[in-house]
């Protein structure tokens, strides 16, 4: 951020009076520009013993598999966001269940939320942001080509909980991945 979105003057990064963190402050009109974490919401939709995955047609992680999920929009609930993203990415009709995982990803200032869901029919197809959409049983999950760690973690808990026959809500935190360094 270089300019004030209210008046167009240059902004300066400084700690406002009464605050404890640096913010982009406009000295011309006084606006303080806050930046806050973003919420990503999606759905884990079941059809019998298989679950719905989408192969990404966009960056990041073009070509990798994921649960349908995306940035929550203003003026919607997390449940509405989960259903909307499932429709946009997989054109799938679902009945939403309970919130299943909430995973903090502080190093990228995101909170990832996945709802459980039931696929209502097999009339799904790739939306604009997907190359393909398919159902996977546990043994067929492409673990080495899952797009995001929060999605892999949600899938691991899902298959684990399915074996146990219990579906607790999982609140987890993911740290930064290890930096790629010189290998010994």
């Amino acid at each position: 951020m270089k300019f004030c979105s209210s008046c167009g003057a240059p902004v300066r990064l400084r700690i406002p009076s009464g605050d404890s963190l640096p913010r982009h402050v406009c000295d011309q009109c006084g606006t303080i520009h806050y930046r806050n974490p973003k919420v990503v919401v999606g759905a884990l939709a079941e059809w019998e013993d298989r679950i719905l995955l989408c192969r990404r047609a966009i960056e990041p992680r073009y070509g990798a598999w994921t649960l349908p999920a995306g940035f929550m929009e203003n003026e919607e609930s997390t449940a509405q966001a989960a259903a909307r993203e499932t429709w946009e990415e997989a054109c799938a009709h679902i009945e939403l269940g309970a919130m299943y995982t909430l995973i903090d990803v502080p190093h990228i200032s995101q909170v990832h939320i996945i709802y459980r869901a039931r696929l209502l029919d097999l009339d799904f197809r790739p939306g604009d942001e997907s190359l393909e959409v398919a159902l996977f049983g546990e043994k067929d999950i492409p673990w080495d080509r899952i797009a995001f760690r929060t999605i892999a973690l949600t899938l691991q808990h899902y298959f684990d909980d399915r074996r146990k026959g219990a579906w607790p809500f999982h609140n987890l935190v993911i740290g930064a991945p290890p930096a790629p360094g010189p290998r010994p």
Copy 2:
């Protein structure tokens, strides 16, 4: 938003190609400015059969009582935000428990999250944003002076769950309050 925060040129509200919602778009540098819901996080801290409330020293709802809570910052987890806000508003030392309520407030584009917590000592005092901080038993809760509906709802569930002796995670949605209209 009137000006591009990247280049300072005026922005225009239009639906970008491939999108479905109007965004503030800069036609000079091409930046699309997204706006997303904000996450508010706080803690319901117990001391024996009482819970910690703060009386607000800031707007909105100056003078009303609330659980310590505030906007989640970039690069922190929801749990870190809950502990930080409890420290800032009540200077209270807590041990954080499980995430307890997540309440969608779509008409103001917010998600409110409250963790359960255990107060570690009685050495609390008002932070800069509080007029006073105090412990309340169920019968003393100032229900008509609770600052926000999400806080009142969380407190109602808390006392209800305490009677039942079970602490499920609650995922709820709050709609817009009825518009003030002419009274009959």
